[in-house]
């Protein structure tokens, strides 16, 4: 009975919070708890944590931005696609049979082009942004002279064969080639 009672008391003691103990042990524990409650991280720790947080945020922001290599690839792909589309369209336009341009001279009889080209113009780079058509027409030489293109030569009454670049609105944008036709 005495042993059982002793055990009960001991068991109650063991299940009590350590801070409630009396005597030397309780005093030591309370002192330890008191010191522990005052403990805190150093200011250096705070600086480290904030710096690590900022580095983490920076890397997050960087990962959200598109990478330069990806951007270069994307721009290259778009440019390639545009060039391909322009090339295909211009190829299709040149394969279309020549039709008389609006306001152009009356159709002339078929004749063999001259062996030598007389003049060419470079295309304005600004014109590449729209869909163009290349149309070959024949017209009197004087009609060409009326629009400001002078073709030098001894025969002023003859016909010329002209490659005209037409815009989407049907108006001529440029003249690519002018060739004298033999009479």
């Amino acid at each position: 009975m005495t042993r059982w009672l002793t055990k009960m008391v001991s068991s109650e003691d063991d299940s009590r919070n350590l801070g409630h103990d009396a005597g030397e042990f309780g005093e030591a524990w309370r002192q330890f708890a008191h010191e522990d409650a005052a403990r805190t991280g150093s200011p250096e720790l705070e600086r480290r944590v904030i710096a690590a947080w900022e580095a983490l945020q920076l890397s997050k922001r960087r990962s959200q931005q598109p990478r330069p290599t990806r951007l270069i690839w994307a721009v290259g792909a778009v440019a390639g696609a545009v060039l391909l589309a322009v090339a295909l369209r211009s190829q299709r336009a040149t394969s279309i049979p020549a039709a008389p341009a609006p306001g152009a001279a009356t159709p002339m009889s078929q004749s063999t082009p001259a062996a030598h080209a007389v003049m060419t113009w470079a295309v304005d780079p600004a014109l590449e942004t729209e869909t163009l058509q290349l149309v070959r027409v024949r017209m009197p030489r004087l009609a060409l002279q009326a629009v400001g293109v002078v073709v030098s030569g001894p025969n002023t009454d003859g016909l010329v064969e002209v490659d005209v670049v037409l815009g989407e609105d049907g108006l001529p944008r440029d003249i690519r080639r002018v060739a004298l036709l033999r009479q």
Binding site: L18, D36, T40, E46, R48
Partner: protein, 217 residues
């Protein structure tokens, strides 16, 4: 736990949301509000100030990374932090268990008019507690730290250590027993120790880090 602070104080939820959006000031407030709890826990568990600082830093980094996964319905924010700190402390302990940490007696420079002798004795007593606590197996140490040092309820501690309330009670009971015994030996005057074993105590149980009890005859 500052879940519902005063009117002017932003709530934890607000701060966490703002911190997740990248607001530095909000993160600083969260840190200042909870760093002491995390640091104290890590220090009591590892017994090493440097390790405790490293763990505190890792806890807050993990917090920012895992913030989108935090569910307030599952656990309070403090419990969530304790959970991260506990896992990191256990990892740290596994890595450095063979290394003994010698800590100063806590005799930092204090402006006090107290008798230096008393001051020294008290610091020594606290150091003994620290030593005895460090000698406990981790599973016992963590419940002592959570319940007796940090004052957590049994239910909270049970949630943290993934056990039942009765399991925590039993573990705590055993932990207190062991701590009292170890501390009793440390606090015993030197002259009493030289007298040999106390009457009625036939053996002195020693618990190793894995929780096995060994008898020392």
């Amino acid at each position: 736990m500052a879940e519902e602070p005063g009117h002017s104080e932003p709530t934890d939820y607000d701060l966490l949301r703002r911190a997740a959006e990248g607001e530095r000031q909000a993160f600083e407030l969260v840190y200042r509000r909870y760093q002491q709890v995390v640091y104290r826990f890590a220090r009591a568990m590892t017994g090493c100030p440097d390790a405790a600082e490293d763990i505190t830093q890792e806890v807050f980094m993990a917090l920012i990374k895992e913030l989108p996964r935090y569910d307030p319905a599952r656990a309070g924010f403090t419990t969530y932090l304790y959970g991260i700190a506990r896992n990191l402390s256990r990892d740290q302990w596994r890595r450095t268990r063979r290394r003994l940490a010698f800590e100063a007696l806590g005799l930092e420079k204090r402006r006090t008019s107290e008798d230096p002798h008393n001051l020294l004795e008290r610091a020594q007593a606290a150091a003994h507690v620290h030593c005895a606590l460090r000698g406990l197996p981790v599973r016992y140490r963590e419940v002592i730290v959570l319940c007796d040092l940090h004052g957590l309820a049994y239910a909270e501690a049970a949630h943290l250590v993934r056990s039942s309330v009765s399991g925590v009670r039993a573990r705590l009971h055993r932990a207190r027993q062991l701590l009292r015994r170890r501390l009793g030996r440390l606090l015993e005057p030197a002259h009493a120790r030289q007298e040999g074993p106390r009457p009625g105590l036939s053996y002195d149980p020693v618990v190793d880090e894995d929780g096995f009890i060994r008898r020392r005859l």
